[in-house]
């Protein structure tokens, strides 16, 4: 019991080293692909090379004859059983969603779609035999370009009759949260400033490091699925709904999961197939994708065209913002799917006091890999648009970009503030974060250096980029989700249970995959219950242990899941109190709980909560009518989102002769409310920054004119390396959130949301004097050079061309993406 009585100072706020690390740094890991079971069979997928085609015939005879092949399945073989993978988010009741069978039956709608599955005794034999499956296709015209697809020139799904999935609008006048945006724009055209821009959010690939893997064991009473997923609970629900298996007969386990970033937020065809075929064959089945399959067929992110109109008075006070989005869903509506752009609907107005706002979004199907949530999901797109526009407004007025922001942002004394998009921002201090960021950055000195280099006509010019972002975190209040027509809720669940020795098990429905829940949750519970950090075990990611939950995404684990823990801990204390009173022979009214001890007021008598747990375990001496447990469950459903914000400043150097860009300095001062573990927070910020920077500079999923993904391996999809990146300067200001008792706001997506516009603003700022006002992402040397070179044309034309190849194109044998559509 001594361990529970001698507690160090508060755990919350300590830079605890992670509990998770010991097993991860020694290779003692449980990735799904590590799992082998007796008699386990292996699956290999046969995938369509065509973006759009009808399947005229499939000859599986040669594959069936191959060594150790057990079976080969086509879509037709499982057509009656396999169902259709649903979307959880029809953004309108009229949304069109084509059926999405796990194995295509008679038509494929993107290159990479599964048309047959080989089952063999080893993975190598399955893959060898997959090469022998002979599929005849009749190619159909493919809808590839997003804008052309929106015109219905070629249909991605002819039976739908249109490529438009749904149209969704938010209008502040209709919602009663602001004025008519068209009136504001008309007024600004008469006597003010109108900024009109079109920006491209290129298609990205989440690129989690652990390829997806699924192992299904159908041999027990329950069908067990190990899945490299972010969402074991939602997967259990979907498996039950699609395959008609009772929920109680399915156990989903997410063991160690190697990253997700939204990329494992889906129930996917491969997963359904593993379950379906394992049950059909009565044998455990495993499927692990190759990296190429992952890039090709796991979902992509972003992919929008954004048409934007910002209206302002002559003094730079913003008066209206109109947003028209065209969003590419790819071939099918994914789990979150069409809802991703809608998550951005409430964020385009950002930290600024727009009196009128309208958001319009048209979701469109194409014959490409489907898109879905990728780190930030809708909010990076929104933040990019508004932070680029604010820079353009500053240029129009000839003032510093921070000055124009300050003129328009919500002042710290105005919180809580209801925005034109109807969100209530609970807390924030944009002045404080900006002041700190400027100080860290050496803003004035760098501006002076920029001027010197510009005046001197240096070959390498310096640009400074600003992003004063905010985001909505903590998905999500269930009522809000309901109002948005999302099919599920947004609460989170936690249990706290004591063993007879006084050790604590914490069970959470938030399923971690790298975030450090085991450590951060231990810190929260250690403080709340006054038990030692080391005496707490956090359990997650197995639906038989953690029976309820909504899993991990949308920066929700702390602000929603953490609060569920607090509620459960408080219930534990309430249950333990009368037992402690009884054991201490005192009245419950005289018992206080502090630092892990129940004590009798005004005496030195007391006992640790762990001792109460031991007494409850024996149950020899409990008060009459009291249940022999102090364990407790709690569910927390937030009433509001939380709104982290921050000021990010980026200095980029641009070689005006080659177009090469180089990051010189990056400063982030984020206000994410109270911090549980600063070490984990720093890691989330760093990683988020690089993903956002990568969108600005390097990454793009590129398709050729036939609908083939040409950036389908890590040779061509340019994930940044250590050599491409720099070390960052980060700090925090703190305005505690009022939407949860811990005062936390969420940090998982902040860096990604904030950094993309900061980088592009810096690149454009470096070469603005050449007449450049935009460069399409990623800002490759080629695009930057072209923007500078065509500056006579004003630089307003969006740059075209390929994403950056991984290797020097002059070297032999290197595939080039040159000439591929942007």
């Amino acid at each position: 019991m001594t361990a529970t009585q001698e507690r160090p100072s508060a755990e919350i706020g300590r830079d605890r080293r992670r509990k998770e690390d010991q097993r991860l740094i020694t290779g003692r890991t449980r990735w799904t692909d590590n799992i082998t079971l007796p008699g386990m069979l292996h699956l290999a997928m046969v995938r369509s090379p065509f973006a759009h085609a009808t399947i005229t015939s499939i000859d599986t005879s040669a594959a069936r004859q191959a060594p150790n092949v057990i079976a080969v399945f086509t879509g037709r073989d499982v057509a009656d059983e396999q169902g259709s993978i649903p979307t959880a988010w029809n953004i309108t009741t009229e949304q069109k969603s084509p059926p999405h069978p796990p194995i295509a039956v008679d038509r494929v709608a993107f290159a990479g779609e599964i048309v047959a599955v080989v089952v063999a005794r080893t993975a190598a034999e399955a893959r060898d035999a997959a090469e022998l499956v002979d599929v005849d296709y009749a190619e159909l015209p493919a809808a590839l370009d997003l804008k052309e697809a929106a015109e219905d020139a070629v249909l991605a799904h002819p039976d739908l009759g249109t490529n438009k999935s749904a149209f969704w609008q938010f209008d502040s006048a209709d919602a009663g949260t602001g004025g008519r945006v068209d009136e504001a724009i008309a007024a600004a055209r008469q006597d003010g400033i109108v900024i009109e821009r079109e920006y491209r959010q290129q298609r990205l690939i989440p690129s989690f490091m652990e390829p997806r893997s699924f192992v299904c064991d159908p041999t027990g009473e329950q069908t067990v699925l190990w899945s490299a997923t972010q969402i074991p609970h939602i997967t259990r629900f979907f498996l039950a709904a699609v395959l008609g298996i009772p929920e109680s007969k399915i156990r989903v386990i997410a063991p160690d999961v190697g990253g997700g970033f939204g990329g494992k937020l889906q129930t996917v065809p491969e997963e359904m197939i593993a379950v379906l075929l394992a049950r059909r064959l009565g044998k455990p089945c495993k499927y692990t994708e190759t990296r190429s399959e992952s890039l090709l067929a796991a979902h992509h992110g972003r992919d929008q065209w954004q048409r934007l109109t910002l209206a302002a008075n002559k003094d730079g006070t913003v008066t209206g913002l109109k947003v028209d989005l065209l969003a590419d869903l790819g071939a099918y509506a994914g789990t979150v799917g069409g809802g991703v752009p809608i998550l951005g609907a409430f964020m385009f107005n950002a930290i600024y006091k727009f009196p009128a706002y309208q958001f319009n979004c048209t979701n469109v199907y194409t014959n490409k890999t489907l898109t879905d949530a990728y780190r930030g999901a809708g909010r990076p797109e929104a933040t990019y648009a508004i932070e680029r526009l604010m820079d353009e407004l500053a240029v129009e007025l000839g003032v510093d970009p921070l000055e124009i922001r300050e003129r328009n942002w919500i002042k710290h004394e105005e919180f809580p503030f209801t925005t034109v998009a109807g969100m209530e921002y609970d807390s924030g201090n944009y002045e404080a974060a900006t002041a700190r960021a400027k100080e860290m950055f050496g803003y004035d000195e760098l501006r002076a250096e920029q001027q010197r280099r510009r005046d001197a006509g240096d070959r390498v010019q310096l640009g400074i980029g600003v992003s004063t972002f905010t985001e909505m975190c903590g998905l999500a209040p269930s009522r809000v989700l309901g109002a948005l027509n999302y099919a599920a809720g947004g609460w989170e669940h936690a249990s706290i249970r004591f063993g007879g020795t006084g050790k604590v098990e914490v069970v959470t429905g938030a399923s971690a995959h790298g975030q450090g829940h085991e450590t951060a949750y231990s810190q929260i519970v250690a403080d709340r219950l006054g038990v030692a950090f080391e005496d707490i075990e956090v359990l997650h990611g197995d639906t038989q242990i953690s029976t309820k939950g909504y899993d991990t995404y949308g920066s929700r684990s702390l602000v929603v899941g953490g609060e569920a823990l607090v509620l459960a801990a408080d219930k534990v204390i309430e249950k333990a109190k009368p037992i402690a009173a009884h054991l201490l022979e005192a009245s419950a009214d005289d018992i206080e709980f502090s630092g892990g001890r129940f004590s009798v007021k005004g005496t030195d008598q007391g006992m640790a909560i762990g001792e109460v747990a031991t007494a409850v375990f024996a149950a020899h001496n409990l008060p009459d009518g009291v249940e022999a447990t102090i364990d407790a469950d709690a569910t927390f459903d937030p009433v509001n989102f939380s709104f982290p914000h921050g000021t990010h400043l980026c200095a980029m150097e641009v070689d005006t002769e080659t177009g090469e860009v180089k990051m010189r300095k990056y400063v982030a001062c984020d206000d994410i409310g109270n911090i549980i573990n600063p070490l984990i927070v720093a890691g989330q910020v760093h990683g988020g920054l690089v993903q956002g920077i990568a969108q600005a500079l390097w990454e793009e999923a590129v398709y050729d004119d036939a609908g083939t993904l040409v950036s389908g391996s890590f040779v061509d999809y340019l994930l940044p390396t250590a050599a491409d990146t720099i070390s960052f300067d980060i700090d925090h200001t703190t305005s505690p959130s009022t939407t949860n008792s811990l005062g936390t706001k969420g940090v998982g997506e902040a860096g990604t949301i904030a950094s993309t516009p900061a980088v592009v603003n810096a690149v454009v700022d470096a070469i603005r004097h050449f007449g450049v006002s935009d460069i399409q992402m990623p800002c490759t040397p080629e695009r930057v050079w072209k923007a500078i070179s065509s500056a006579g044309g004003g630089g307003d034309d969006p740059t075209e061309g390929a994403a950056m190849p991984h290797f020097d194109r002059s070297e032999p044998g290197q595939d080039s993406t040159e000439g591929a559509g942007a």
Binding site: R18, G27, T29, G259, T290, A682, G683, H686, S727
Partner: protein, 156 residues
Amino acid sequence: MARITLTVDGAQVSDDVEPRMLLVQYLREKLGKTGTVVGCDTSNCGACTVHLDGRSVKSCNVLAVQADGHEVTTIEGLADGDRLHPVQEAFRECHGLQCGFCTPGMIMQAVDLLNDNPSPTEEEVRLGLEGNLCRCTGYHNIVESVLHAAKGGVTA
């Protein structure tokens, strides 16, 4: 099938393998050394990095038969019993990992880097880790970890 005999993490092993079998498949599938993982199929990511006779190699880029007669060290053989290798310790200390999938390869590469250059600059660390991809950390704390280990005087 070809007969190979090699030392893996200090133990001698001998097996008949298909000539096309990759070293990483041999480690994972035949020996159960699942601490070493496969992250890509183009030898870009480095998640499968191990030591072959003390030098780092991407084990997806080496055939098992090429390791015949050689000595392989994986992440599972790096610690000395319960005593972690200083680079492992540094990754924990500096929060150099999040999901941990790239970590075995990253650590094995970092050990090799420090064997070559015990006092690297930040730039040298960044260039030395260029063949290993991480999607979680943004590399900031990985670089910190390697510099931290270097300060502690890491030797293999």
